[in-house]
């Protein structure tokens, strides 16, 4: 609890600092930089873009990973602005019903901001492939969709399970530029192997913030780095104290 409150305090401090104009320099993410290129390729080849915010919902047993879905939706906001700008059809597939209104609202807002709200019904498609026994129905639904629409760009950001590799390989077969990111440890190697660009772990949580160039969000990224530095310092301190013969682990009942 203490650590969570400390984290909130650090994030809030750096967000406020950024709002006062003190924004740290951000390193670029190759996957994020490739998104305009991939949507551009879709425009040139007259083929659509596929996006998925992952196969994790907001409720139930998988809700613990919902932060990844939020990260995916944040990137969707950026991608849908690009598709609105380049007039490219956008297909978004979701695995949970509760994501449909959220995805639709995100897309509508992006198209509105690009002055193309009238194109939402004709150029964007939110498709629901529900999860049943496992994620197989979602996976097979997306594989079939890829055969039909042959996307020029496949962007997958969020929490994924086994379907990650199946979709990414099918995207490769269709010749799509593929950008994928997840914080699911067991799926990252598949994305690295099968996709052109991979956002690894925490990169998905900052991609939307960097894409938006919102100073407040950029401030929170600085807070993340500071928090990681504190964790690293605590690790080194704990390691040193433990090796000096003081049983610090017993204090934390580890």
């Amino acid at each position: 609890m203490f650590f969570l409150l400390l984290s909130f305090a650090i994030f809030y401090f750096f967000m406020s600092r950024a709002m006062r104009g003190r924004v740290s320099k951000m390193r670029s993410l190759a996957g994020l930089q490739a998104m305009p290129e991939s949507v551009g390729k879709a425009a040139e080849t007259n083929r659509p873009v596929h996006f998925t915010p992952g196969t994790v919902g907001f409720t139930g047993g998988v809700a613990g990973y919902a932060a990844q879905t939020f990260a995916g939706l944040s990137v969707l906001s950026y991608v849908s602005k690009l598709t609105a700008k380049y007039k490219v059809p956008l297909y978004v597939t979701v695995a949970y019903g509760e994501l449909i209104p959220v995805v639709e609202a995100t897309i509508r807002e992006s198209y509105t901001s690009e002055g193309r709200v009238d194109a939402v019904s004709s150029e964007t498609h939110v498709l629901f492939y529900p999860i049943a026994l496992s994620n197989a129905p979602y996976a097979s639904g997306v594989l079939g969709l890829f055969e039909r629409i042959r996307p020029a760009s496949n962007i997958m950001i969020g929490g994924f399970y086994f379907e990650a590799l199946a979709i990414a390989e099918q995207g490769f077969v269709q010749g799509a530029i593929q950008i994928a990111g997840t914080a699911m440890t067991h799926q990252i190697p598949f994305f690295v192997a099968a996709c052109d660009y991979a956002l690894i772990g925490e990169e998905i949580f900052v991609a939307g913030a960097i894409a938006s160039q919102d100073v407040t969000l950029l401030g929170s990224i600085t807070g993340q780095d500071v928090l990681k530095a504190i964790i690293l310092a605590l690790l080194v301190l704990g390691f040193t104290i433990q090796n000096l013969g003081v049983d610090i682990l017993s204090i934390f009942k580890l």
Partner: protein, 193 residues
């Protein structure tokens, strides 16, 4: 909800509040599933009405099977009807396992591309991959007893350290995005700009 995770306070009925909120979220998600089925049906009715080539026949099958599953589910509204159990245990499980098993071929094709040695990093990946695979395969120890030892070291030391760093980074990122959503600063989500 956050307080309920960390604080035990029976005197203010915190557990009850958390349980009720969780139930509310699950109920809302249930209604959202109905919305999802409606959306799915509308999309596929559109395919059928416009006779979309290469699509409409699959839409017919999908809608028919959806209706069948809902129908047999409603027959056994009190308890599970044997028809529902049959549909669940035989066609659905078999189809599910089939889709899952396709993964073996996808892994092979992805590994073929990933293990092509075109750079120094790819060489390191290839060598470590060989050691870890031969650690897991019984033939590894038969070829050379060092394979399991080195493979285990790779998993326990470099892999475990990278894994922990990754977990720390991801957890911090998840907390950050959680805060941004809670205070309404994550504007891309929920259709705000």
């Amino acid at each position: 909800m956050i307080a309920g995770y960390f604080v035990r306070a029976p005197e203010i009925f915190l557990e009850d509040i958390v349980r009720d909120l969780s139930l509310l979220a699950s109920t809302l998600a249930g209604y959202a599933t109905i919305l999802g089925i409606l959306t799915l049906s509308l999309v596929h009715v559109d395919h059928i009405s416009k006779r979309r080539e290469g699509q409409w026949i699959y839409s017919v099958i999908l809608l028919a099977l959806t209706m069948v599953m809902i129908g047999v589910g409603l027959i056994g509204i009190i308890g599970t009807h044997p028809y529902f159990t049959w549909f669940y245990a035989f066609p659905l499980t078999a189809l599910d396992s089939t889709t899952y098993s396709i993964l073996a071929f996808y892994i092979a094709s992805a590994a073929f591309r990933a293990f092509r040695i075109r750079s120094g990093e790819a060489l390191v990946l290839g060598i470590t991959g060989i050691f870890v695979m031969l650690m897991n395969a019984p033939i590894g120890a038969a070829i050379w007893p060092g394979f399991p030892v080195i493979g285990k070291w790779i998993m326990d030391v470099p892999n475990a350290s990278a894994f922990r760093g990754f977990i720390i980074g991801s957890s911090v990122g998840a907390i950050a995005i959680g805060l941004r959503v809670l205070i309404g600063r994550e504007r891309g989500v929920l259709g705000r700009s």
